[in-house]
């Protein structure tokens, strides 16, 4: 099963290679990995999608924690979380296909972000299943290029806690 691990790291030179090296050196899988700075520019947030049995995931989490540049590791599968991925898809569109492409874009609440007489460039966000689905539908038209960001995810705020907080805010 896919596991999503959220890792807060020092935002400095060489950190990505330490994390990537850990996975390759110990034979762990990386399905996808995305990195960007956090609100605090001295830190970056990584979302790593990986797979393995319980023992492997435990090792991955421990080994990540052991890296000196790693500040925090959260195994999101231990909680509720929401995740999204974005894909940008360039499709060939001949005369008749252009309307079909737009219909698909509409169904998936995707956007056309660039257009030429023979292509559309489509942006779509969602969970991986949605991305797979739109790719499947666009494929008959002819996909010229496809890039995916890999998943990013955050833990869901516990509902009870959020409700208490809202009440508190209302009182103030």
């Amino acid at each position: 099963m896919d596991h999503i691990i959220s890792v807060t790291v020092e935002n400095k030179f060489g950190v990505l290679s330490r994390v990537a090296g850990l996975f390759s050196g110990r034979g762990f899988n990386i399905e996808s990995l995305s990195v960007a700075p956090t609100l605090d520019p001295s830190m970056s947030q990584m979302t790593i999608v990986t797979s393995g049995d319980e023992r492997i995931i435990e090792q991955i989490v421990k080994q990540l924690n052991k890296l000196i540049d790693v500040i925090k590791v959260v195994d999101l599968n231990e909680t509720e979380f929401v995740s999204r991925e974005t894909a940008i898809i360039k499709v060939h569109t001949k005369d008749v296909d252009r309307a079909e492409a737009l219909r698909i874009v509409d169904i998936f609440r995707a956007n056309v972000i660039d257009s030429t007489p023979t292509t559309y460039t489509i942006e779509v966000s969602g969970d991986p299943k949605k991305i797979e689905a739109i790719i499947n539908l666009l494929q008959p038209l002819g996909i010229k290029e496809l890039v995916r960001t890999g998943r990013v995810a955050v833990a869901r705020e516990p509902v009870r806690q959020a409700a208490v907080q809202a009440k508190k805010n209302a009182r103030e």
């Binding site: 023992r55 924690n65 052991k66 890296l67 000196i68």
Partner: protein, 591 residues
């Protein structure tokens, strides 16, 4: 006042209490060497190869418990020291290695003697730094020493470009270090320790399984108290030798692939394994699925990744061995009573049976070829009153040393465990000797492995490091030959060294002393002569070439299924063996 990077480097070493630096110069570190040349606080030991410098730093660290420090140049200097860094990483040795780097403006340009030092060392160091600004140098060095020596110790590399060593900056040395992603857990979880104490009280067949973590955390005293108080037998890993007195009645000796019969049997049949500062390496567990099938496992380790990496653990305790054992002893002191002794009497009867059934054994004929075990045994008996430091290389001689040299105290045993680095022993012994000029430092080596860092004899002579090397010379890569005999139908593919230098002449060529033991009757006299010499000595001991090291658990085998002696077909093959000497081994090979 502003100092150059090179001066800051030296000031930092002084603040860290570094007295000895194992080093070899080169273009980009010349400024640093120039400054070292003009001061007296840090002694520079000039090695002949960077690998030697790295192992010397390891030997220094293992013997003193402090960080060992080495300095190498860029490019080949760096690639040469990698083996030592990888070795230190596997065996958790605190080493701080400084490497030179091409000027920052040239990094990435494939400059002369450029290598990606950070990329090369990343998988074999605990951490590494590239210092791009001289203003960061002092703080970086402080962090390097801190990371190397705290938590689970390990090697740290600091890469210093040439222009950084020449540039100037104000020098201030930070008093403390704070790294937000690095906070080793020292104290164990109190609830878990209580669980462990309860399990220990209840166990009928407990066994202590102790490793190098006990040595590094300085927890030998606490371990002794625990074992004596609870009367639990103690198995030591290769790295843990010396953590518990080898001649203590509770000591089972070493466990694992070439461990003693009682150590491995006790492990296999125990109902409670108390692992302290050990990591369930494959040389100890054998087949993981059949490892200690009846036991609950308590695992104390400062490195959380060691826990449940190979073996299921019931009571994990992350923390420093010393701190955890103190806490554990405190609980047990209040609860231990005579009942445990009665409870465990059958266990001890069983263990004594095992001990008597298959003690470590070899057969030395009075006039026959010299048995390697005899050499180690006599060396041990002749030197034990002098509390020697013992280094080994890797192979059969290492295992015999581990079996027969019963160390009484920690920090006396310098060996390459995890990486299994041939060529480790001699430079490591020199590193220890550099730290303790007046102590007796022995290096037990094989004729194969000693040749891997033989060049350091020049360093030993130059820097007056009177290490005593005892070469168990069997003309083979002995452990390889043993595996070939047992598992490859005796085909000696590249294990016969064919030609070996005259080690006596070789020692003399370097300005050291060379001695040879011609027959077993001369052994004591020659060893005594070597021990009385105040120079580096090589004692060449031609030994019986076909001696195998037992007990042995075949790789991936189960701990209670040990090979205890040569199988019958091997005995047949070697039946003429009693007459074999290294000179005529070829005739036996073809026979």
């Amino acid at each position: 006042m502003k100092l150059t990077g090179a001066e800051i480097f030296i000031e930092c070493l002084k603040r860290e209490g570094v007295k000895t630096l194992f080093a070899l110069p080169g273009g980009v570190v010349l400024k640093i060497f120039d400054m070292l040349h003009q001061q007296k606080d840090v002694e520079v030991i000039l090695t002949r190869h960077e690998q030697g410098a790295g192992h010397m730093a390891e030997g220094y660290a293992k013997a003193t418990g402090k960080a060992g420090v080495c300095l190498v140049t860029s490019g080949p200097g760096m690639t040469n020291v990698i083996t030592a860094l990888a070795d230190a990483y596997m065996d958790s040795v605190p080493v701080v290695c400084f490497s030179g780097q091409v000027p920052t403006s040239l990094i990435g340009n494939d400059a002369f003697q450029e290598a990606d030092n950070i990329g090369l060392s990343r998988p074999c160091t605990k951490y590494n730094f590239l210092v791009k600004d001289v203003n960061d140098l002092a703080a970086t060095i402080k962090e390097a020493f801190y990371i190397a020596t705290t938590g689970r110790p390990g090697p740290v590399l600091v890469d210093i470009p040439k222009d950084v060593s020449m540039a100037k900056a104000d020098f201030t040395y930070p008093n403390s270090v704070s790294i937000r992603g690095y906070n080793p857990t020292v104290e164990g979880n109190k609830w878990q320790i209580k669980q462990a104490a309860e399990a220990i009280m209840k166990a009928k067949k407990p066994i202590l399984y102790v490793g190098g973590g006990v040595v590094f955390s300085g927890a030998s005293q606490e371990l002794l108290e625990l074992a004596e108080m609870t009367q639990i037998p103690v198995d030591m890993t290769l790295m843990g030798l010396g953590a518990f007195p080898g001649e203590h009645p509770l000591s089972m000796g070493m466990l694992g692939m070439h461990g003693t019969y009682q150590a491995n049997m006790a492990m296999h049949y125990s109902d409670l394994v108390i692992a302290i500062g050990a990591r369930f390496d494959d040389r100890v567990t054998g087949k993981p699925s059949e490892f200690c099938p009846h036991a609950k496992v308590i695992h104390v380790d400062i490195d959380p990744t060691s826990i449940r990496k190979n073996i299921h653990v019931d009571i994990p305790i992350v923390g420093d061995c010393k701190s955890v054992l103190r806490e554990l002893n405190q609980i047990l002191r209040a609860t231990v009573n005579g009942e445990q002794k009665d409870l465990r009497k059958p266990w001890w009867d069983q263990i004594r049976d095992w001990q008597q059934a298959h003690p470590l054994a070899y057969h030395q004929e009075k006039e026959g070829p010299i048995k390697p075990q005899q050499v180690v045994k006599r060396l041990y008996e002749l030197t034990k009153d002098r509390d020697p430091i013992v280094a080994t290389d890797v192979g059969q001689h290492q295992m015999w040393a581990a079996q027969y040299f019963k160390l009484a105290k920690p920090n006396r045993w310098l060996t390459s465990g995890g990486l299994g680095t041939m060529g480790f022993g001699f430079p490591a012994a020199m590193g220890a000797q550099a730290a303790f000029r007046d102590r007796l430092v022995l290096c037990i080596a094989g004729d194969g492995s000693i040749q891997m860092n033989m060049q350091e004899m020049a360093t030993a002579v130059l820097s007056k490091l009177p290490v005593k090397i005892i070469i168990l010379n069997n003309g083979f890569h002995g452990m390889v030959r043993q595996w070939q005999d047992l598992f490859y139908e005796g085909r000696y593919a590249s294990s016969n060294l064919g030609t070996t230098p005259d080690f006596v002449k070789l020692a003399e060529a370097y300005g050291a002393v060379g001695l040879r033991v011609k027959k077993v009757g001369d052994l004591d006299a020659v060893l005594k002569e070597a021990l009385a010499t105040d120079k580096p000595v090589i004692v060449d001991v031609p030994t019986y070439p076909y001696e195998n090291c037992y007990p042995m658990i075949p790789a991936g085998g189960c701990n209670h299924e040990m090979i205890l002696e040569d199988p019958p077909e091997l005995k047949m093959k070697q039946s003429g063996g009693a007459k074999v000497t290294p000179e005529d081994k070829d005739t036996v090979l073809t026979a």
